[in-house]
Structures are given as C-alpha cells and as structure tokens.
Symmetry: C2
Subunit: 124 residues, 2 copies
C-alpha cells in the first residue's frame, strides 16, 4: 500500500437507519412492492414479530423513509406501508454503496504491501 491516504473502505453511505438487518429487509420488500404492503404482509415477508415490526416502522417513519396509511378494508382497520419518494431515493443511494462493497470485495490488489516482504516472525 502506498498512495492510499483515503478511507476508501469506510462506507459512510451505509446509513445505520437503513443498514440494520430487519429494516434492510423491510425497505427491500417495500422497494419491490411500489403499491405498498400491509402490516401483515411485512410481518410475514420479513419474519418479524408484531413488536419488532412496529418498532422498526417507527424508526423508518421518523426518518421519513416510509409512509403509513391507515384505512379500512371490509370495515376493519387496515394499515398499508409505502416507501416515500425521499425514502426510495435514499434507499437507492444506500444500495449503490452495497454495490460498491461487492465490487471492492472482489478486487484483489496486486500493489500489495511491499512492506510485508520484510516482515520477520516475532521471536517466541
């Protein structure tokens, strides 16, 4: 390693709100369903409990990434969750960082640590 003075593997774009595993699953399923998903759909698709789903929905709503619409279906309360326009854009930005991770992980550099050549094992 010579010229690399930048933190090229820092991945600041991996926003913690979106990177958390359960929320990543929720955002991915919402991205794949532009017409929205019900609370029950999300719970099932993401394998979450009611409590966990509610908690994560709150985090995503506070970050303005999703919109929660409450209506009625056959006279019963019915909740539908959508990505907001802002949320879709931010999620796309996040996904582009994930793509970069995959790309970077596949790079095997040849400009390898010339310093290592001189590495001697520490005496026991």
């Amino acid at each position: 390693m010579n010229e690399t003075t930048e933190a090229i593997f820092a991945y600041d774009g991996l926003d913690r709100v979106m990177h958390e595993k359960a929320r990543l699953g929720m955002l991915t399923s919402l991205a794949a369903h532009p017409k929205g998903l019900t609370f029950g759909d999300l719970k099932q698709l993401c394998g979450l409990t009611d409590g966990n789903l509610s908690r994560h929905l709150k985090v995503l709503e506070e970050a303005k990434l999703i919109k929660i619409e409450k209506g009625y279906l056959a006279n019963r309360p019915h909740t539908t969750v959508f990505l907001t326009k802002h949320g879709r854009q931010r999620f796309l930005d996040y996904l582009s960082v994930l793509e970069k991770v995959l790309h970077d992980a596949a790079q095997e550099t040849d400009e390898e640590n010339s310093s290592n050549k001189n590495l001697k094992p520490r005496p026991a």
Copy 2:
C-alpha cells in the same frame, strides 16, 4: 400478495458480526488484500480510530474470521491482519446475501396486493 408464506425478506444470512458497518469495511479491505494489511493500513483504509479498530479486530478474531500476526519490521513491532480461510468463505456467503438484497430490491412485483384495491381511506 398471495402465495408468499415465507419470510423471503428476512435475510438471516446477514450475520451481525460481519454486517456491522466498520467490520464490513475491514472484511472488504482484507478480502481485497489477500497478503494481509497492517494495523496502520486498516486504520487508514477504514477511517477508524485505534480504539475502534482494536475493538472490531477482537470481535472478528473471536469469530475466527481473521488472523492477527505479530512480527517485527526494522526492529519495530509490526502487526499484520489476514482473513482466515474460514473467514473468507463466510464472508463470501455473506456477500452472496448482499447480492440477493440488491437483486430483490430491483424486483418490482406485478402480482401486487390485490387486497389494496378495496382499501378505503379512513374517515377523518
């Protein structure tokens, strides 16, 4: 949504040891440098403080994903970090789940929530 009874967006393979943002950066940089990286290289590439880097190295070492070799270079202590064979395999498995996330996020399903068609706004 009809037939989906599985938690297809649960992404259980997003192992928390590897998914954490700083550790993901460290593993990615190590994957790209098979001959290993020094403590100083990692610190710089991942934009971490000494303390954070040490803490995350410990987590990765305890999970047997990395190996830390202490030696001497020009009579000064010199630490080199590598992915273990096991770590490389597990990281590849993790990356394949990330690829699945990217793939899934790009799917816009047409079998959309037929249930939503009947959704009436909740009266104010």
